[in-house]
């Protein structure tokens, strides 16, 4: 959604930015089925808000290319892709074994147009990534992937864990219900700042899952839109080519609010709170404002717990910084963290180093939360 550059004269931070926005007008028509919380219609609602706040007009807006079979097969297994292509709501009863094998049917249901929906959003993401690549200074840049969705990015983490294309680090930050803006930023900024300092990525991908917002149908955090957007603002201020992608978000009026506001942040534009009348205005009653106050739910993250998490992670990052090639003998920090409850949620930061030097097989997955790397330069 965004690439570095120069353009818009206005902006509170005074820095000019060129923003590319990938949108397919078909995307809002896909329907997961009645009762399912994922509603692609939210993206169309976002689009209408962007137009009526005058933001679309100040971006380069592109209809993405559809990802083809061979594109998807660059990562996914051939049989998975051909399964997605062939499965329909009518034939799924005959494919129970395949459905179970590929974990399709409940969270990710079979619906009409499933495959073309996959082609659409994959095309958008890859398009943004290609655009980002054009902004990179060097060929082998490190990429930082940050995920602020309330749900852990299992797929992404596993994808990098099993890749044979270089070194990979993963950092997961365990958080409890009810986290508010201040608590969240008290971790996000120092940790991301340290990550940037240690790894100096050439590009950043920020997954902006909006289910970490207050009042989400599935989520249980208590972030306001401004609090959520602070992550975007912060990553943007680091002046590295930035790709923003969507993600979760199941109270669709809040998703549209959030992503519209965050597009404003990407452009360096503040939006007035009184929402302009537009096609989906009635979704935003009774106040019809852009911002909504968080709830009074209890923040189960104590100051002490947050301070401890921050201190341990910053310490771990410092050790990596000063001795990146030394094999660690100490136990990684997460094994000493308090026992993780089942209902804790994660804020994720990941980074990937494209290097042919180090052995990925040395990577160990500890306690299911923080993965640490035991680095050993491979003899070349």
């Amino acid at each position: 959604m965004e690439a570095g550059g120069n353009s818009l004269p206005s902006g509170p931070d005074g820095v000019k930015r060129k923003v590319f926005y990938f949108y397919d007008p078909e995307v809002g028509n896909y329907y997961y089925g009645q009762g399912h919380p994922m509603k692609p219609h939210r993206i169309r609602m976002t689009h209408a808000l962007l137009a009526h706040y005058g933001l679309l007009q100040h971006m380069h807006v592109v209809k993405p290319a559809l990802a083809r079979d061979r594109d998807l097969c660059r990562f996914h297994a051939d049989d998975y892709v051909s399964f997605l292509r062939s499965i329909t709501p009518e034939t799924q009863q005959d494919q129970l074994r395949q459905l179970k094998r590929f974990n399709v049917g409940e969270d990710c249901p079979v619906f009409d147009g499933l495959y073309s929906f996959c082609q659409t959003y994959a095309g958008g993401s890859v398009g943004g990534a290609v655009k980002l690549n054009h902004e990179l200074l060097k060929v082998h840049e490190r990429v930082l992937y940050v995920d602020i969705d309330i749900h852990h990015g299992d797929g992404v983490e596993e994808a990098f864990y099993t890749t044979d294309r270089g070194k990979y680090y993963s950092l997961n930050v365990p958080l409890d219900d009810g986290i508010d803006d201040e608590s969240y930023q008290s971790l996000f900024k120092p940790i991301m700042g340290k990550v940037m300092e240690v790894f100096k990525p050439g590009a950043v991908v920020l997954q902006c899952g909006a289910d970490s917002l207050s009042g989400d149908r599935l989520g249980c955090f208590n972030l306001s839109i401004k609090g959520h957007a602070e992550c975007v603002r912060y990553m943007r201020s680091l002046n590295v080519p930035l790709l923003l992608v969507g993600g979760g978000g199941y109270t669709i009026r809040n998703v549209a609010r959030c992503w519209c506001y965050e597009t404003g942040v990407a452009l360096g534009v503040e939006l007035e709170d009184k929402m302009p009348q537009h096609e989906y205005y009635e979704y935003f009653g009774p106040d019809y404002t852009l911002h909504v106050a968080p709830s009074n739910m209890e923040n189960k993250n104590s100051r002490e717990q947050l301070d401890e998490i921050r201190a341990k992670l910053l310490d771990y990052l410092s050790k990596l910084q000063h001795a990146p090639s030394v094999q660690f003998q100490e136990r990684p920090p997460d094994t000493e963290l308090p026992e993780v409850d089942e209902d804790q949620e994660d804020e994720d930061g990941r980074w990937d180093r494209d290097s042919d030097m180090d052995d990925v097989d040395d990577c160990k997955h500890v306690s299911g939360r923080v993965k640490s790397e035991y680095l050993e330069p491979k003899d070349t």
Binding site: P9, S10, Y23, P25, G28, N29, Y31, Q34, G35, H36, P37, H41, R44, H47, A48, A51, Y53, G54, L55, Q57, M59, H60, V61, V62, K63, A65, N103, E106, D107, D112, G123, G127, V130, K131, H151, S214, R217, L218, C220, Y250, T251, I252, V269, E270, E272, K274, P276, Q277, H278, E279, Y280, E282, Y283, G285, P286, Y288, L290, S295, N296, M297
Partner: protein, 233 residues
């Protein structure tokens, strides 16, 4: 044809032995006299060549376009609605419809061809023109009789009743039905107006009674939270 240098050792007859024999260093001619004259490539990039496949990924440009009013005042970026209006009943359904229509006309002027490409003509209350008021009431009934909380879906019954495509039904549902329900609830004094109320079969009275704190742990939220994205297979 290259010739090996002559030396004291006899020429091996075995080819493998020959080429691995260090004493027989082949003279490879190099230097400007031995370079081929290769003209510059002027044809299109080979299919699969990185650059052409890269340009495919950049998609189809929709905005900016030349003829549009690209002189859209920079001061209007981020502007919300006016504090007041001259409508007889400000904030009413009619007032909103009036302003939404005005904004739509303005947007069409601003966006030119992009307005249609982005399907703004298929968004909003205007979609209701496809059906008469009687048909619209019939649709309302079908949705109410098929709540998600009972494992039902309005989609197929509506498609059968109206003998139309699913796209038409869904378009009406998201552009007309849901916003109208929410509009009614908002004007009935409900503090939390949720588009998912219909799917769970809730009525507006229980929405009104619920406090803000309770909403975050409301029955419908608990149901959804225990069913989707739990990480449990």
């Amino acid at each position: 044809m290259l010739k090996p240098r002559k030396d004291k050792k006899p020429t091996p007859v075995d080819w493998v032995e020959f080429i691995t024999d260090e004493n027989h260093k082949l003279a490879i001619p190099c230097g400007s006299r031995f370079q081929v004259d290769l003209s510059d490539w002027t044809g299109p990039p080979h299919e699969g060549y990185d650059e052409s496949s890269t340009s495919r990924w950049l998609g189809t440009k929709v905005w900016p376009i030349e003829d549009a009013h690209s002189d859209t005042n920079v001061d209007l970026i981020g502007k919300g609605r006016s504090d007041s209006c001259t409508c007889p009943s400000p904030g009413s359904i009619e007032c909103v419809k009036h302003h939404v229509n005005d904004k739509k006309v303005q947007l069409q002027s601003d966006l030119d061809s992009a307005f249609g490409k982005w399907r703004f003509n298929e968004m909003g209350e205007g979609v209701s023109d496809i059906w008469s008021s009687e048909e619209q009431k019939r649709f309302d009934c079908i949705v109410k009789m098929n709540p998600a909380s009972e494992g039902k879906s309005f989609l197929k019954p509506a498609m059968e009743c109206f003998r139309t495509q699913r796209e038409t039904i869904l378009s009406y549902y998201f552009n007309v039905y849901v916003p109208r329900c929410m509009s009614n609830k908002a004007r009935a004094g409900s503090r939390i107006v949720d588009s998912d109320d219909d799917e769970e079969g809730e009525d507006s009275k229980s929405s009104q009674k619920r406090s803000r704190a309770d909403d975050s742990i409301s029955r419908k939220a608990k149901y959804a939270r225990n069913r989707y994205l739990t990480g449990i297979r």
